[in-house]
């Protein structure tokens, strides 16, 4: 009994010595409707889905050590492939004097622009979640960061590759013909076990933020190869080996933020991938207190360039993006983000979106989202999505 008591006391003191811990997250439901008739009769025209994203973290050793978990699950009534689970974060982090070490699954964001994220390459994009590419799949990594007066140096070793997931037969926002899941090809013989490496130096100097980055490994963006199947032609994703060098810079002056991202991507060995350069540059100008209610309006203008010809180029191969962020600065933290992208070469290639959200009570957010796609050229990457414009409304409860 004494042993039991002793163990109990030890456990109690251990728990007491563990400092900050928290359990948080959100649950939500979304309804999405696609007003246009689908390009493929197998595709549905509305979907109801639910999302669950619990998060837990525990700090100890005076906050120098921490363990972080963030899980994600979505159920989709229309598309089995969109019903998916992911471990966004599952890592241990140690913070030393001017360094950090992270081991496990994590999400890393690099970059400054809004219309697309060129330099951001560590994580695979979760495209079944949303077409804007802002959602990411958790990436296994060993990440060492050295924080010095002359900037931060990040070193990444990425031992496992995460393949992209594609919408299923019944799902919208997919390629026509369909891209097959679980049929991917790799340039590397080691397939998804190929070890990728990345380096980044970033620095803040007064009004300037600058980052230089380098990545060597399996491209997060696949090439699509046609393949004959029993059900007809399908596409299979092919992941080439690449080396990407990137630069991102931001200059702040009064109410102006000037932004630049540029990459050069080189294929490695006998590759199907092109060598190419791409960049996005633009600004964000903030109008503060535009009315008596002190609303803020941030105006965005960005130009994107990609040196590859269609169909290999990204949707942003020669495009102008204009957008805005309206913050109502109210108790409900209401916000509307909107944007419009126009291809400069092809007048018929354009897309637009609007995302709005507001809080109800203390813990619930109501969201509304509209995406519009338009394209007439079958070589245009947007062409497959031309009938997939949609409206979504949702409710999220945070705890």
């Amino acid at each position: 009994m004494n042993v039991k008591l002793c163990a109990g006391a030890m456990l109690a003191s251990l728990i007491a010595s563990l400092s900050h811990a928290e359990f948080l997250g959100y649950v939500g439901v979304q309804a999405r409707a696609f007003p246009s008739t689908a390009a493929d009769p197998a595709q549905g025209s509305e979907t109801l889905s639910g999302v669950l994203s619990p998060e837990w973290y525990q700090q100890w050793n005076d906050g120098d050590d921490s363990f972080n978990i963030k899980a994600f699950y979505r159920y989709d009534s229309q598309d089995d492939e969109r019903s998916h689970a992911d471990l966004r974060e599952f890592y241990w982090q140690h913070v030393g004097n001017s360094w950090e070490l992270t081991v496990g699954v994590n999400t890393i964001f690099w970059g400054v622009t809004e219309s697309q994220h060129l330099v951001d390459i560590i994580n695979q994009t979760d495209f079944v979640e949303a077409p804007d590419g802002e959602d990411k799949l958790g990436q296994p990594m060993i990440h060492y960061a050295s924080i010095q007066d002359w900037g931060v140096v990040d070193v990444f070793v990425l031992p496992t590759f995460r393949e992209r997931e594609f919408a299923g037969k019944e799902g919208r926002l997919r390629s026509i013909p369909i891209t097959l899941n679980d049929a991917e090809q790799y340039q590397s013989d080691r397939k998804e076990e190929h070890i990728d490496y990345a380096l980044r130096w970033s620095h803040y100097l007064g009004d300037w933020n600058v980052g230089l980055s380098w990545f060597n490994g399996t491209s997060r963006e696949p090439l699509y190869l046609p393949r004959a199947t029993a059900a007809g032609i399908a596409l299979i994703p092919h992941y080439a080996l690449i080396e990407q060098s990137g630069i991102d810079a931001q200059y702040v002056s009064g109410d102006w933020l000037w932004k630049l991202e540029a990459i050069y991507r080189r294929s490695i060995g006998h590759s199907l991938a092109d060598n190419y350069a791409a960049s996005t540059a633009g600004f964000e100008y903030t109008l503060t207190g535009i009315n008596s209610l002190f609303w803020d309006l941030g105006l965005l203008l960005e130009y994107s360039y990609d040196s590859r010809p269609r169909p290999n180029a990204s949707p942003f191969q020669n495009d102008i993006f204009v957008g805005g962020r309206l913050s109502l600065n109210d108790i409900a933290s209401s916000e509307i983000l909107f944007g419009y992208s126009q291809d400069v070469d092809d007048q018929d290639s354009r897309s637009a979106f609007m995302e709005a959200s507001t809080r109800i009570g203390d813990s619930t957010r109501v969201t509304a989202e509209v995406f519009h796609f338009h394209g007439d050229d079958s070589l245009d990457p947007i062409y497959s999505l031309r009938r997939d414009s949609y409206i979504e409304i949702g409710l999220e409860y945070y705890y």
Binding site: H20, E22, L24, Y26, Y57, Q59, G63, S66, Q93, V95, N97, S98, E100, T107, I108, F109, V112, E134, A145, I147, V152, Y204, G206, D207, N209, Q250, V252, G254, D255, W256, L257, E284, T286, T288, G289, F294, D296, S327, N329, D330, I331, A332, S333, R359, D362, S363, R365, E396, Y398, Y399
Partner: protein, 264 residues
């Protein structure tokens, strides 16, 4: 004699012109001296942390709460650094704000958005807007630096039985949301007890009352309660600061983009 009278009249008119200027100079010097004394009495706290609760009152009597933690670092020869970590409402939990105030340049500001795991630089003009939907602006919550204002002592006056200096302060920052502020500073401890904020149209926009001052480390006075009343729309916000800690060993490394990302 005519000449004499003429000279006298010149002298007289000169004195009329010059003397208010001299008085104005004295009032400015006195105002600046009060501000300097106020700041110098608040030097040497090194670092501090506190828990902040904001209670937002609508005119209809509804209440909303916001909770956050604030870490601050005293910087020699420049403005202070601070980090604000949001704990509620739940949908902004984990959001954190980093600010470096500068004496003679625009402040540097960053916001960390946990959903995207992204640190965003904020244009320095964004300081006059409402903070979290409250009656406080970002500007109202940033550290006081002597170099950021011009001063003029107006008069002495009692507030709640405390004899105060009444000083007019004019923001030098062109992005400030105010044309001027009038501050009541108690003469015994140099603590701001009340501030009136004026808009460009020279009418009172907001009134801040600072109360329940507590003495920390035998030297530093901090108000446990601040009440901002918006004179325009009748709404108000109360700020309660609790659990103040000083000199707990924070340093430059706790105020970087990296520390912002892992702020919990």
């Amino acid at each position: 004699m005519i000449i004499k009278r003429f000279t006298a009249s010149i002298l007289f008119s000169l004195s009329v012109i010059i003397s208010p200027a001299l008085i104005a100079d004295e009032a400015q010097d006195k105002g600046l001296a009060i501000a300097k004394e106020m700041k110098s009495r608040d030097r040497g706290w090194v670092d501090s942390s506190a828990e902040m609760e904001m209670v937002l009152h609508t005119r209809g009597g509804r209440e909303t709460r916001r909770e956050m933690r604030i870490l601050s670092l005293e910087v020699q020869n420049d403005g202070d650094k601070s980090m604000t970590i949001f704990d509620s409402p739940n949908d902004v939990k984990g959001t954190a704000f980093l600010s470096f105030t500068h004496n003679n340049a625009d402040d540097d500001q960053w916001l960390y958005l946990p959903a995207l795991k992204r640190v965003k630089r904020i244009a320095s003009k964004n300081k006059s807007g409402p903070f979290m939907g409250s009656e406080f602006s970002y500007e109202d919550l940033s550290s006081f630096e002597v170099e950021e204002y011009d001063y003029r002592w107006l008069r002495d006056e009692e507030v709640n039985g405390e004899l105060c200096y009444v000083v007019e302060i004019i923001p030098r920052d062109k992005y400030s949301g105010y044309s001027r502020e009038i501050v009541w500073i108690d003469q015994s401890h140099y603590r701001a007890l009340k501030i009136e904020f004026y808009d460009r149209k020279e009418s009172v926009l907001k009134t801040l009352t600072l109360s329940d001052y507590q003495l920390h480390l035998d030297k530093f006075w901090r108000p446990a309660k601040q009440t901002m009343v918006n004179e325009r729309n009748g709404k108000s916000t109360e700020v309660f600061l609790r659990n103040y800690q000083f000199r707990s060993g924070l340093d430059e490394q706790d105020f970087t983009e990296n520390s912002l990302k892992r702020a919990r």
